[in-house]
Symmetry: C2
Subunit: 326 residues, 2 copies
Amino acid sequence: MMTKIGILGYGNLGRGVEKAVNANPDQELVAVFTRRDPKSLSINTPSAKVLGIDELDNMKDDIDVLVICGGSATDLPVQTPKYASEYNVVDSFDTHANIPVHFEKVDKSAKEGGKVAVISAGWDPGMFSLARCYSHAILESGVDYTFWGKGVSQGHSDAIRRIEGVADARQYTVPVPAALEAVRSGANPTLSTREKHTRECFVVAKEGADKAKIEQEIKTMPNYFADYDTMVTFISQEELDRDHKGLPHGGSVIYSGSTDSDTNHVIEFSLKLDSNPEFTGAVLSACARAAHRMQSEGMTGAKTMLDIPPAYLSHQSGAELRAHLL
Amino acid sequence: MMTKIGILGYGNLGRGVEKAVNANPDQELVAVFTRRDPKSLSINTPSAKVLGIDELDNMKDDIDVLVICGGSATDLPVQTPKYASEYNVVDSFDTHANIPVHFEKVDKSAKEGGKVAVISAGWDPGMFSLARCYSHAILESGVDYTFWGKGVSQGHSDAIRRIEGVADARQYTVPVPAALEAVRSGANPTLSTREKHTRECFVVAKEGADKAKIEQEIKTMPNYFADYDTMVTFISQEELDRDHKGLPHGGSVIYSGSTDSDTNHVIEFSLKLDSNPEFTGAVLSACARAAHRMQSEGMTGAKTMLDIPPAYLSHQSGAELRAHLL
């Protein structure tokens, strides 16, 4: 079944979805929708249109699934409920604490419109949620641990850039090797925030800025850095552009559970991603396939990856999957 | 929803399912069915009955899901299609090449009876199949590798025990560290059978047996050992009983795929299991929960884990899963 895709928002994630859709044999990118002036936007798919966001009122018959690529802070809480009544949609809403509220709003809208909305897709939430769900479902007694990195946290990089005297910055979240080892051993350790991750910051200071003061401000910043062992390294803009351009990320979900007092089992799911937005975009494109199929079979409402039969994410038939991948 | 469970066959796997069912808050073991004399069988659940296999004709109203714990060679190809028309069933059929035929037979029977049959559940096929399916669905361009071990292969242990002069044996399948590293690096190497795994054999020779001849017979055995680097160590029965009693196993599915010429992503799913039959039993008990729920919602026919929405494996509600695990 071919799926005609629209993308709303053309930042890093929107471009990641575009790349994935163009790699998938059963998907076609129809249009990218933007709040900017469409004429100002150049996309990588010659056959697709660039349209203003208002054109979404007129494209319902041309698009099977709209992949909404905005941010979780202000875009998605408005856009996903708004469009879920008119389009099958997929989003990557990732503010974990607000997922239940987002789900309810989107569910209501999607059911009113007879559409399917897959929310909170990606890798965390998303693939990591799957790892947690499968593990807990299989082994009743157990503990899950999630480690992130080594990878770039854009939120933390932005927080550093807001400090006076900082020209640019890149922040890496790094899991503590000893913590990983302890969890993998099945010891089920109790780990503080500081014991799980360290934060490595590469900072470009403006000319004449007080580097000691910048370093102090980073290391004591509440929520972002104060609870971590933080390393600050000042480098030049050239070095930052040369060595820290990419957006790699990844991490591990490790579950340790037992079936008897002396019988332990460790389940680990890990990702090592050269590009966070391109991998996330690929997950969203697979979820778009599932959304289309679910709605065409009569399902409606909000779904997460926990609700999607794995085979629905694939363009291979059930028989092909059983013959080649099972 | 409570699920009343029956277990057919009480070997290592049947006992593993029993342990998992008793650990699950929403499941109750009603009866174990056996081809042996029921009086000869002592089980670990005082509240459950032990019944002869013929009693399955009379227990349809007392059991929601029958977990069939026979072997894939001769038991399951007969038992699963036979009982799938009368019970929701779960099996662990693991002869990969014959899964399509098994699926068709079971599907026909389950549909006739209006039941759900989950086949080929466990970890490979099962959890490892899920890892392969998700990876291929997300990254169109990529290669999957499966490594097994370090763990006990019962089939290979049995093959050694059939050699003249052998009193007992335990065979471990061991992944080659260099191969694992190459795959994890994203290099997508081409690996021969010999390059992926080695085989370690611990053998108890009968008194006066020709050890050199036994070792030679093991190392040249077609299909089982000839294509591998095989290590043979002779030990005493006491040493074997003391150091090699358990049935640990595990392994990794590693997928390496790209979204661009220089942008690679590595997805890894690993298991480290102290007891292969207890973990497999736990997977089967989760699939029994899903089978019951799917059938109660009106679905029928054969399913694999690729067809089961992950949330259906859990006893937690959708809202609980979204709040705590997503």
